[in-house]
Amino acid sequence: MVNKKIIKVLMFIVFLFVLLIGHLTYFIVFKKDEVSQNSHNKRLWAYEEDIVRGEIADRNGIVLAFSKEGERIYNYNSLYCHVIGYNSKIYGKTNIESKFNSLLLGRGGLTEVFNLSGDGKVGYDLTLTIDHRLQHYAYGRLGNANGSIVAINPQTGEVLALVSKPDFDPSNAVLIKKWTELTENSNSPLLARATSGLYPPGSTFKIITSAAAIEKGMDNDMYSDTGSVIIGNTAFYNYGKKANGEIDFKKAFALSSNFAFCSMGAALTSPTLRDMAQRFGFDKTFDFDIDFSKSAFAAKDTDEAGSAALAIGQGETLATPLQMALTACAVANDGVIMKPYIVQKATNKNGNLVYEKKPQQLYKPITSEVSEKIKDLMVETVKTGTGKNAGIRNISVAGKTGTAENELLGKENNKEHAWFVGFAPADDSQIVVAVMLEYSGGSGGELCAPIARDIINTYLKK
């Protein structure tokens, strides 16, 4: 009797000990990462104090960031604040400095298993896909306007330039001095507009609407554009209420006719548009080298008038400049969106490769036939339509303009966002550019197309 009870007690003790082991395992599998990243964990900084943080260079080896005597030095001040980010003991880390922290400290990567000696006094160096020359040019070209420029190689997904303004100096000393100002500034200089700014895409969304229309066989339709159209109980106007007369699908796109696209949207309905937008990456996320916001298509299905608004990039839809650049990438690259990336490789001090990113497909929203058709529309836009300012002699440029109404509509005049997305050369695209100027008040064709043209020109001339 006593022995039986003793065995029961033993079983209970075994149960308690299994509980200990189970809890430890659970902790390591599910909680480890969250706990180790807690800012109160002194280990985060303790490891780093002994290690010279790796350098960050552009695709041609120009050093952008390095460490000296424990200080992180950014050679180009604010130019890369929204790409490389900052590395501060007080305010933490952002962007590349955060996502690639382990590699910059010489941990992780391919050699981790073999690196048992603990000889990790020097971190790994990162090479970016960014072209410093182009980044610098784009930065200057954007001037003092609030907005962003994204440039991507559509064939590989390499990000060539990524500029957001306003910006800030990411060095630790400046952060300490200006942190309150930076966080309270109503212009939000800490917001990386290119990747995390969400805006109505306006007429640049017509690329996606066209894709849906082509798939439905609506690309042979003709429109008698009177400058305005009433759908449901809502009136829609062309930009400047201009009447375009008798136009076909191609002209409707090139002239950015809201008359035609609102009618198209009403016929396509919101579920079809949503499906197409999601194929291009709306409402989806992926692992990218820096943090970014998910672009969102209107969540609720809507009536004819609502669908008409969505077809011209108004309504509830919000997109980042990055998302609109990726949208153009699909057209430029036979219907395939390559996964964008900023860090191409990491090497140790002996020059051995410890991390490498290979181009890979992200989405394939449309067939190459559909992408060819849209490309024609976009080439026509730059040749004869709203995107004329993006034209370059001897190079075939494709593009789409956008002028997006926003929350200030009806409150303040001339506060529309201006957009341009495009690529060149059209038959073998080397570069996709998205330019966005927030609350600029002008049209995408006037304000953004020339910027895109100059960037394409700078890049292709090299």
Binding site: M1, I6, V9, I13, F27, S36, N38
Partner: protein, 406 residues
Amino acid sequence: MKATLVKKPIGMLVLINLLAFLLLFFYRKPHNLQILYVGGSIMVLNVITYSVIVFLKLGDEYLFLIASMLITVGVVMLCRLNYTLGIAQVGWYLASLGVFYVTYIAYRYINFWSNLKWLYFALSVALYILTLTVGVTINGAKNWIVVGGHSFQPVEVIKVLFIFFLAARLTGNNKKILNLPENYATAFFAFIFIAFLLFQREWGIMLLFFFCYITLIYIYDSNKLFVALNVLVCTVVGVAGALTMHHIAVRIHTWKNPWSDISNTGYQITQSLFAIAAGGFFGTGIGMGRPDFIPEAHSDFIFSAICEEMGVFGGVAVILLYLIFIYRGIKIVLTLPKGFDKCAALGITIMFAFQTFIIIGGVIKLIPLTGITLPFISSGGSSLVSSFISLGVLQAMSARGNEHGK
């Protein structure tokens, strides 16, 4: 021949001693020869004691093997944290081995231990009163006595006395006290043991005594109602404590959400979790982590330091060593005839089990944290001596069990 030596547990133990201390010696520059002396001493003490147990047939050989492995792990960690702690621990290990042999001989050849229950009780009360009057407060608990520059914890001795007292009460003939039924009288005295701990704020040991007492009466008292009543009383006391005593309430709150106040009440447990997370499954390697960030890393939190540098796999190995130790203990208990010996051996074994569970469960945040040492591993003379008294008793009983079996 060599191959078989390595296959034997003692061979593995020697191998681990060699590897661990050589590693410790080489990783730190300038090289500290004292680390090699510590490692050598541990190894010699382990091998000699093991040989004595085997060749003089002192009963079960695995109990000591496991204990010496745990001590090795502890001393390696202590040397790594601060080698003076490691050296001190080896000194205590030597003293404890002396106590171990004395206990063994005393228990093996003297048979009146079941008659001394009132001595155990009186001695415990005396030690309690001594602690409360001349004791000093270290780390929030007034449970230390300083004699000639050395501080020790009387409660570590009381732990053994408590088990002996209960074993004597539960298995012997008891005279009526105040007309109470026998088991109620036992309960009364058990709660006196526990009540003193309340004044010392020794929540960990209190919990441990509760567990041991309930388990023993569950096994030895056939009156289910009485057992249930005791569980009820313990629960009510526990809940009332949590509701009325600020100290306990804080601990429970901290257990539920240590992250809300990391720099104050949650400091210890979060530092412990940071360490375990830093180690992952495989650990950073000895000398490569930062267990110096863990408060009390040498005593209550030594398990977290082990997890950081030897990994959760190392931690699980330690847990399994305790489990085998407890299994061996229970096995000895089962061979013993009904009576005082059996009950005392059982009490000692489950006390090891619950103590291990309470402190490891505490530092990994499975249960609220209560400060208590990890047997054989934590730094400190009182704890080590107490553990070896218990081990000596178990060892003697295993020898008796063998005789009984023949």
